[in-house]
């Protein structure tokens, strides 16, 4: 095989390596350029965060600092796709996620490739009792000591508002203690 390892193959290797080095350098520079923007987001705090997840990361630790690690927390989320449990752990978390039909219609219009998954997610949430409804909200509030509202408050929150004592607020998030 050594004799047939021709000069052509060696040249192809060297040419390919040169192009690859260029491509790798372009990729690395572009990736590193994005970092300063993210760093300034972190430094500026939740209000300037570049995404809802980053906002949760920066806001929730401070907001939840007074909540004991073993206290059950109900998260009422109107945010689209943030894994909020990651930021609430190790506290046991109950979730009520808003996912109205209007979101599926929007996905149909702008991101048709994800419509089926969004629809299935709504079905899964409903089956597991985690899809936000007024009845579930009233029931769940009675099972926890604290409530976090993530995103714009849903209209149904008015039904339980008199049982909730405000304990803090960060951009995009509000913490309430449930009155006993």
């Amino acid at each position: 095989m050594r004799s047939s390892f021709s000069i052509v193959l060696r040249a192809a290797f060297v040419l390919g390596a040169a192009v690859q080095l260029g491509a790798g350098a372009v990729f690395s520079v572009q990736a590193l350029r994005r970092v300063p923007g993210d760093l300034s987001t972190v430094a500026a705090g939740p209000a300037a965060a570049s995404s809802e997840s980053m906002r949760a990361l920066l806001a929730l630790p401070d907001l939840l600092a007074s909540v004991p690690d073993d206290a059950p927390v109900l998260v009422v989320s109107t945010l689209a796709a943030v894994q909020l449990e990651y930021f609430v752990l190790p506290r046991p978390m109950l979730l009520l996620q808003d996912l109205p039909q209007a979101w599926i219609d929007l996905a149909q219009q702008f991101m048709p490739e994800v419509v089926d998954e969004v629809r299935r997610r709504r079905e899964r949430l409903d089956r597991s009792g985690r899809l936000l409804t007024d009845e579930r909200l009233v029931q769940r509030v009675g099972e926890v000591g604290f409530v976090v509202v993530a995103g714009p408050p849903p209209p149904g929150l008015a039904l339980v508002r008199d049982r909730l004592v405000p304990r803090g607020e960060q951009p995009g998030f509000a913490l309430f203690e449930v009155r006993r």
């Binding site: 060696r10 390919g16 390596a17 080095l21 990729f27 690395s28 943030v82 109950l94 979730l95 899964r124």
Partner: protein, 456 residues
């Protein structure tokens, strides 16, 4: 700040120590770069097994208990190493190509580390697949199956948890800083791949250096180095292929066990790794039964099979399931026939980009590697690598081809390039064979005093 850095370094490097000790106990490969890569890959695998055992025994995931066995083993190894000091061989002199490869390796690792540590983990697959579970394991101090079952829309709860278990060390150390430090394990995985590629393809020649650059500087590798376990799996597959060569060459009695350990590590890393590992262990069992019957070989098969089985058994026992694969076995083969052409066209577009903007994200690895690899496989002893690549690619083609109607585009967009990345392992090994065949015998880069004294 200093305490955080030292603590994170301890959490990240103790598994590497575990890997170095375990790999050396099995004889090692006798090649420094490969042994270092193996330590980086196998170490987290050993730690994952250790934590599964701790869970079974009811020992909490507290850092002192996690680290203690490895430092005791280090003490024993140091005592034994004194006796072996006289057996060490000489080190090959540093050559210009090796220096160039070393500089590139350092630059790529440091650049990736800057990207990794600048922004904390907060979103996407790395939360849904690793960090969410790492926080559960680290802060609750066990696998906490009841907590895993109760997680809210956790994404891939069926995911093997090697990365999450290792990241759990950092969450156990300090849950507040862990989102900033936990990506260290991904930087170490990239380093493992670079070291493995440097040894497999690189060596002391300029042709090898070009091959190394093709593998290492590929944007297809770099873009998935942060946030995913795919580069770790790629590194594991490269080492697995190399270990298979040691087994086939009957290099030393520890070779089958090293292969089993690598297969087990792949099985604990990702479900794709589990599929490949199961095949690897089956082939090893066949090999041991037909060609190399020995108690060590049988033990290696048992260890490999055990490591492949452990997470599926635990998943079944914990009652963990995921909506993503609930219907995977219900789908008809007609769907495969219908969708396979779209999958092939997508993957071909990823492998052979033409436009500069596509080359900047996919690279030109396959343009050079595939023809060269096919050329290299003309040698009988390299054909099995081509066969392995075809089988691996065929498996992925099947999995993608039976994706639910309507999901295929989203699946290709998110998983397609990463699945392609896994299959890079075989062309990397074939490139290594080609480079090796084209260089003089004294250019092997193998220390004559290494474990076996055989060229690699």
């Amino acid at each position: 700040m200093i305490g955080t850095v030292l603590g994170a370094a301890f959490c990240l490097l103790t598994p590497v120590l575990a890997g170095a000790l375990g790999w050396r106990a099995l004889g090692g490969s006798g090649r420094r770069a490969l042994d270092a890569a193996a330590a980086l890959v196998v170490g987290p695998g050993l730690v994952a097994v250790q934590m599964l055992v701790y869970h079974a025994l009811g020992v909490p995931f507290a850092l002192p208990w996690l680290a203690l066995p490895w430092y005791v083993a280090l003490g024993v190894a140091l005592v034994l190493a004194r006796r072996r000091a006289a057996e060490r061989g000489y080190r090959a002199p540093l050559s210009a190509p090796v220096l160039v490869q070393g500089v590139l390796l350092v630059l790529l690792t440091v650049g990736t580390a800057v990207r990794a540590f600048a922004v904390p983990i907060h979103d996407g697959d790395e939360v849904n697949n690793f960090a969410l579970f790492a926080r559960v394991f680290g802060t609750l101090g066990s696998l906490a199956p009841e907590r895993l079952v109760a997680l809210n829309e956790p994404g891939h709860v069926e995911y093997p948890h090697l990365v999450a278990l290792n990241q759990a060390w950092l969450f156990a150390f300090d849950p507040d800083t862990a989102p900033w430090t936990a990506r260290g394990i991904e930087v170490l995985a990239l380093l493992a791949f670079l070291l493995a590629a440097a040894r497999v393809c690189g060596g002391h020649g300029w042709t090898g250096t070009a091959a190394f650059v093709l593998c290492a500087a590929s944007p297809a590798v770099l873009r998935f180095a942060i946030g995913f376990a795919d580069v770790r799996l790629l590194a594991t597959f490269v080492l697995l292929g190399h270990a298979a060569r040691d087994v086939a060459a009957r290099r030393d009695p520890g070779a089958p066990m090293r292969l089993a350990l690598l297969a087990g590590t792949a099985a604990l890393t990702k479900n794709e790794g589990l599929a490949v590992a199961a095949v690897a262990v089956a082939v090893l069992a066949f090999w041991v039964a037909r060609r190399a019957r020995s108690w060590l070989g049988v033990a290696a098969v048992a260890v490999g099979a055990g490591l492949c089985a452990v997470w599926p058994i635990l998943r079944w026992r914990f009652g963990l399931h995921t909506p993503y694969v609930d219907h995977a076995l219900d789908l008809p083969l007609s769907l495969l026939v219908d969708q396979a052409p779209r999958v092939v066209m997508f993957l071909a577009g990823e492998m052979f980009p033409l436009a500069p903007d596509r080359i900047a994200v996919a690279g030109v690895f396959w343009w050079c590697a595939l023809p060269a690899a096919v050329f290299a496989s003309r040698a009988a002893h390299a054909r099995w690598l081509l066969l392995a690549w075809l089988a691996h690619a065929g498996l992925y083609l099947y999995v993608l081809g039976i994706a639910r109607r309507g999901d295929l585009d989203a699946l290709l967009g998110t998983a397609g390039p990463r699945l392609l990345l896994h299959t890079m392992a075989w062309p990397v090994l074939l490139l290594g064979r080609l480079v090796e065949a084209g260089r003089p015998q004294d250019d092997e880069g193998v220390t004559p005093g290494s474990a076996s004294g055989q060229p690699g």
